[in-house]
Symmetry: C2
Subunit: 527 residues, 2 copies
């Protein structure tokens, strides 16, 4: 078996003989994949951090064009490794090669890198503010330390710590990245890091622009993120791991951006169900079971009034779930956690009202399941009943009245998204108006007549939300260039001589096109 090296300061370094190792598993067969990956130790962390610090100091002096070139050439290199990436990722995650990996996630990933490059080149993202009368000028700039990125299991490309949205944002903002690969797809991450290293060499960026390690003990994970040289941390994954990292980072004064878990409540107002309940039942099923329910924006909670239309909707949904075939889950851990979540829901009074076909063969899998709980029972234990069941299930909460729906909305934790389906005319306007004040500040993205899965990479996106969905409701992890802001600090220049200012803050507009806030207006002119 090949034991793979880690990427430190531009070199692939073999770990010492005695290093602990792990392997990935094919989720469709439960067979162990042949490659061995190392668990990195304390000394490697120190080496990685020193190299990252040097890279940081260099990157603060680089032009945005240099960063953009790197991101673009990296996107090209990824495309030239596309076949390897798709084959490896499909093997490690059991996600379908096509359309999921090939037609959707890989293009999204290279698109994110290219969008980040374009935004870096364009420069408006840094929010240059010029007060020419006081000669005080400010912009957002790099942190002066690396960003440590922990990627999740469910998007081996688009959220990969060595190539995904966090990586693109951190580098575009001028920071090196220390990627902690997800142990579910180490081979995929390795191919990305190889492609990144090629792009680093071609563009002459510091060798430690991207460094990658595969696994760490908890102790060494905490050691890494709390190190004085670290600039910030980004994590996408479970609430349990996220909270442990948050506690450590907070105590060390390190900014940490977490995307942890979300029940993504969907409110189905009576008029909408009367008008188009059947269509909504199909939408719910599709959104709940896409990628076997392993999306952070899966609709985990569905709230509706238990009137005639509500009952009919439930019957429709039950029928669809009952006849459905199970998908493959990412790992035994994912399967077990989803099962525990469903058991938790049952323990607090939910019952299963539809269970799809049972899995066959060796794959990690669970049947698609629909659960139900009366509103008054939900309100007795609203917190455990919002546990994220990361898998193909949703919990329907049946409310007795509009006012109970409002009480349920007030009992919700912070979520990434909140959806409200309403009548296409004005039948639900009153219900909508009652709901919104309670929901608006509980969710990052509020949707109308639309399920929450499907996260467009647009500057207007918010893939974030109030705690505990994330660690801070003011930041998004998807959407260029808003996602950059997590990895920046506000840099003010007071009476600094013109030639010493960053080009974005000099009187002359550095590109002739970037937008700056000069003395009270957004403008592309010189100061």
């Amino acid at each position: 078996m090949t034991k793979h090296p880690v990427l430190i300061n531009g070199k692939w370094i073999q770990a010492p003989e005695e290093t602990a190792t792990f392997t990935a598993v094919d989720p469709s067969t439960r067979t162990t994949l042949p490659d061995l990956y190392p668990v990195s130790g304390k000394d490697e962390i120190e080496t990685v951090l020193q190299a990252a610090h040097e890279a940081s100091m260099t990157m603060t002096t680089l032009s945005p064009d240099a960063l953009a070139n790197f991101l673009e050439i990296y996107a090209d290199k990824i495309e030239s490794r596309a076949e390897d990436l798709i084959r490896m990722a499909s093997r490690e995650t059991a996600l379908p090669e096509d359309p999921r990996l090939k037609a959707v996630e890989l293009p999204r990933t290279t698109n994110q890198l290219r969008q980040a490059a374009a935004a870096a080149r364009e420069r408006t993202w840094c929010r240059a503010i010029l007060d020419t009368s006081h000669n005080i000028r400010s912009k957002f700039g790099p942190l002066g330390g690396p960003v440590v990125v922990f990627g999740p299991n469910n998007f081996p490309f688009a959220f990969n710590p060595a190539a995904g949205g966090d990586f693109a944002a951190a580098v575009a903002a001028g920071n090196p990245v220390i990627a902690k690969a997800h142990p579910g797809h180490p081979g995929t991450s390795r191919i990305f890091a190889e492609a990144a290293l090629e792009a680093v060499r071609i563009t002459g960026l510091p060798p430690a622009t991207l460094q990658m390690i595969y696994a760490l003990s908890s102790e060494n994970g905490f050691r890494l993120i709390t190190h004085p040289l670290v600039g910030a941390i980004a994590f996408t994954g479970s609430r349990h791991s996220g909270m442990a990292l948050k506690t450590a980072a907070d105590a060390a004064g390190k900014p940490i951006y977490l995307e942890m878990s979300s029940s993504n409540p969907v409110f189905l107002l009576p008029g909408a169900l009367r008008e188009r309940g059947t269509a909504i039942a199909k939408e719910l099923f599709n959104s709940c079971t896409i990628a076997s329910g392993q999306f952070c924006t899966k609709p985990g909670l569905v709230i509706l009034e238990h009137d005639l239309a509500g009952k009919a909707f439930i019957q429709e949904a039950v029928n669809i779930f009952l006849n459905s075939r199970p998908g493959i889950l990412l790992s035994e851990n994912t399967r077990a956690a989803a099962e525990i979540a469903v058991e938790t829901l049952l323990h607090y009074g939910a019952r299963i009202i539809a269970c799809g076909k049972s899995p066959e063969g060796q794959a990690f899998s669970l049947p698609n399941r629909l659960l139900m709980i009366p509103g008054n029972v939900f309100l007795k234990n609203p917190n455990p009943l919002q546990i994220e069941a990361f898998g193909p299930s949703s919990l329907i909460v049946t409310a007795e009245s509009q006012s109970q729906i409002c009480r349920i909305s007030h009992a919700l934790e912070g979520s990434l998204t909140g959806s409200i389906y309403s009548h296409s005319g004005r039948d639900d306007e009153e219900g909508y108006a009652h709901l919104v004040p309670g929901i608006r500040t509980k969710v990052g993205r509020l949707l109308n007549d639309k399920m929450p899965t499907g996260v467009a990479v647009t500057p207007a996106m918010n893939h974030g939300g109030p705690y505990p969905a994330t660690g801070h409701a003011g930041f998004t992890s998807v959407g260029v260039p808003s996602s950059f802001m997590r990895f920046t600090a506000l840099h003010c220049y007071d009476n600094v001589r013109s030639q010493r200012l960053p080009p974005e803050l000099r009187d002359k507009n550095p590109t002739g096109k970037m937008w700056r806030w000069i003395d009270g207006e957004w403008t592309q002119r010189n100061a």
Copy 2:
């Protein structure tokens, strides 16, 4: 003695008989002032929070004009109480009535409120982003919970939790405020709250727009800030208290913005000292002793090369400090903490090279003092030697070489500011270029040829900086409208019907003038 009530939900409520009380002290005479103020208990906190929650829900639906009207009428009311405020504040803090309180701090305070009102009315601050092709739109909006503001002792007006910059920012962004008055100036805070209540009544804002309590046990302080209904916390004060609040808020997942302490390093490059050492010595003395050194931006650390010009500069500074008269400090606590800080510096190898005239009379006071330490001794214990001595003293670090200056810069903690004085020609360009990469990401505001005291209220200001100067390097507590961002969340609207969108996100520009980012450019047009 009058026992004063607290302001809860628009009413002045007398605390129960058995409530603990405290009094303020006149720092110029150490005499106890006659008024009694209550220490609020658990039940009051719960009442305050419930009222604040209701106010929050109402305020999310108010137009920016309503908030702006309130802020403007409040500014007028403050001016109509100016005499009372100035007399009371001077008595409670011993800060001079004129120019400090009357000509500087009061106008700054009303100016902040009016700037915040203008920015709220103008609306550009909320960063509306419209992606019309996806129909995804986002803006920053209120938190949905009150902001708890803890004000400091040193700015009874401009940072008062019931009237200062945090208050203005929180309300302009649509959040109610729970003000925890500083116990050093309860009477001043009371007058502000009276004026605010008048403005609330005139403008019809929710009665709990501002609530005020004077004191809390530590336990109840933690209870307040970690309560589920709280939106965010703002604190300006000592590192010790700030860190305790941060730990509690972090564990509860509450955003907390802290301004804790800062050594504000000033680098004096050799060319500058050769050229104008005498003038710089005067600037240093003034900046160090203004308001008896009780500014968060006081230059606590001065770093220079110990060459001929450096030695001459030190001699000039010594002469100025030696002959100087002491000012009055805010409290016995302040005096004792400043004394402990100086003792800490002495313990780690600094020595006092100039001590001004000794205080006479009863006032809380300390002589103006200049300390010195060799660079190599500083580098042995750089952290304790960056303790904030909040009072009239500065520590000069004498370096052997430019490269030692760079090592010192790398050993600095996060600060609000960092100043570099250099030759007016090009003599110091190389030294400057060496220094900047290390300094830039360590400070919020980088100054050239200027002492750090003096914080202009401009949109380009950053009164913030890396931990531990504050809790997050991406936010500023001074500067409208940037300071609002601390008290907002990112609100995204995906496919939301037009009439349900906030006016700032509809196709039609709500004012005809606000700037919005529409499909790739900043514009004042309709979408």
